[in-house]
């Protein structure tokens, strides 16, 4: 047992903030309300001069106990809560939950709904990466890209608004398909977006990727090896920058991902620039997936027929999807009732954040924000 008095005694040997100083000169706090942390993330950084000795993330500022909340909601209701976790890829979170409930019900999703789901997922991924690109450039000191990124993201938001009825927390995926059919204008507007964005993504490269200042800020900074990335449980584009094959869409294809042609982007350098390049190339892949599917939406139902009250059989169900940040897992334990007995969400941001200490250690304090930018952290996703 670890008693409270012992904790206080132990603290006296370290620092008032609870960080092992390891002979550091200075301990500074970044956050919880700091614009560079993109949310309420609190980092306690031990410094030796300008060199980082240790980065310790303190979590819990936006903990809403979503997992506990879901236990009192029915299988239709709990899906909307997950849009509030990773709000930039809310469609994909909803998708993962819907897949898990469908696995329990052994429900066949109509072909039309599957294609619509994948289309929405990829559009969400594009929107998320666009916002990341703008914020990433802003982190290293360039302001213009942020406005350019938001211009393109607005087009996707408009498409979402027209079809789903909301811009950020859509709640469009339901067990058995999608909530409503796509808007009659959907295909035309997505095609407009594709032709618009194809030119603009070259502008993105022109403005930021080729820039020498940006390259010097990110190359050979925040290095993490393939082995370390695996041992920290990293996933998504952050891990793929270190050469880890971890794309759930390729490894465990769901919906129609095994029928569309796309490449899993892998960079082997493992530094900030590699992670940046993975996301930039992923945007083009997402664009090609949308292009392949937009003209091939099959006719049919958009929702399978389900009972009014959903009851999962007794057992454990797990499903995983690839969000814009990585591997998102939903684990449901059912006792056979109308509400889940226990729900656990495996969020990609939490594991990616745990590797921040390893990446930043030994580097300079000025690079910390750039490293955090390439991890693409969404804090409500980490705290839940």
């Amino acid at each position: 047992m670890y008693r409270e008095t012992q904790i206080i005694e132990d603290r006296s040997t370290v620092s008032p903030t609870g960080v092992d100083l390891e002979g550091a000169d200075l301990v500074i706090n970044v956050g919880p309300q700091h614009p560079a942390t993109h949310g309420v993330l609190h980092l306690v950084i031990a410094l030796n001069g300008e060199t980082i000795k240790k980065v310790e993330p303190h979590l819990g500022y936006i903990h809403r106990s979503i997992e506990k909340m879901c236990e009192s909601l029915s299988y239709r209701q709990f899906i909307y809560v997950t849009s509030r976790m990773d709000y930039l890829s809310s469609h994909i979170n909803n998708h993962g939950c819907a897949l898990c409930v469908e696995k329990g019900l052994q429900l066949e999703v109509p072909a039309r709904a599957q294609v619509i789901r994948v289309l929405m997922d990829e559009l969400t991924r594009l929107a998320s990466h666009q916002l990341w690109w703008g914020a990433m450039a802003m982190d290293v000191g360039a302001l213009t890209p942020f406005f350019l990124a938001f211009r393109e993201r607005e087009m996707i938001n408009d498409i979402m608004e027209e079809t789903c009825g909301a811009r950020l927390t859509m709640n469009y995926m339901v067990p058995g398909g999608v909530m409503v059919d796509i808007h009659p204008d959907f295909q035309r507007r997505v095609k407009e977006f594709i032709t618009h964005f194809k030119n603009k993504i070259d502008e993105y490269d022109e403005l930021v990727t080729g820039n020498v200042i940006f390259q010097n800020r990110t190359k050979n900074v925040g290095y993490i090896s393939k082995e370390d990335a695996i041992s920290y449980g990293m996933s998504g584009p952050s891990a793929r920058g270190s050469g880890v094959q971890c794309d759930i869409r390729k490894l465990y294809p769901y919906e129609v991902y095994d029928k569309v042609k796309f490449d899993e982007i892998i960079e082997t350098d493992g530094d900030s620039f590699a992670r940046y390049m993975v996301r930039m190339k992923e945007m083009r892949q997402s664009l090609s997936i949308v292009e392949q599917l937009i003209d091939n939406i099959p006719e049919g139902d958009f929702q399978a027929k389900t009972k009014a009250v959903l009851k999962l059989p007794k057992g454990e169900f797990y499903s995983r999807v690839e969000t814009a940040r990585g591997d998102f897992g939903v684990y449901i334990i059912s006792e056979g009732g109308t509400t889940p007995y226990r729900i656990k969400f495996r969020s990609p941001g939490f594991s990616n954040l745990s590797a921040l200490d390893h990446m930043a250690r030994g580097g300079k304090i000025g690079d910390l924000v750039a490293i955090m930018g390439t991890l693409d952290l969404v804090i409500p996703d980490i705290d839940r």
Partner: protein
């Protein structure tokens, strides 16, 4: 000598890449009138068109005879994850002298609503729908608790 060569090469590539980016910024600076993106919100209220599926708030549909389609079945109340809807029912006496369950008050807490659309999906008679209004701010919190059925309204003929 090789070091000097690399150094000069690096300087030139740095200048070139910066100019490239500056050129793009300059292009947008010169062409900003053709591509106007930002809308000034309170000024554009008249021409602001929201899509028909936009979820602003839940409203109940009434026709010209002040009749609605709500049977008081509480399907929406059960579907709501946040207890936004509270339905109070009463018993009407039909012409045959039988008791019949009917809607008395449809209480809607706008302050709790997350616009998830689950109640509209659950409604068997399409009595409620999402409206496109979005300016909900008021000075008193109590004003956000609304009664959706209009006073004196009754259920349409033939809806069970």
């Amino acid at each position: 000598m090789a070091f000097l060569k690399n150094y000069i090469k690096e300087v030139f590539s740095a200048v070139r890449s910066s100019l490239k980016g500056m050129g793009l910024t300059g292009y947008y600076a010169l062409h900003h009138k053709k591509e106007k993106i930002t809308q000034q919100y309170p000024d554009n209220r008249d021409e602001l068109i929201l899509p028909e599926r936009f979820r602003g708030e839940v409203v109940m549909l009434h026709d010209e005879n002040n009749e609605h389609a709500c049977t008081g079945c509480t399907a929406c109340e059960l579907a709501c994850p946040n207890a936004t809807i509270k339905i109070i029912t009463k018993f009407d006496i039909t012409p045959e002298g039988k008791k019949k369950k009917a809607l008395d008050t449809f209480v809607y807490h706008l302050e709790l609503c997350t616009m998830c659309n689950l109640c509209i999906e659950a409604c068997p008679t399409d009595a409620i729908k999402m409206a496109q209004t979005f300016e909900h701010s008021v000075f008193d919190r109590n004003k956000l608790t609304k009664v959706l059925n209009k006073p004196g309204s009754k259920i349409k003929e033939g809806i069970e």
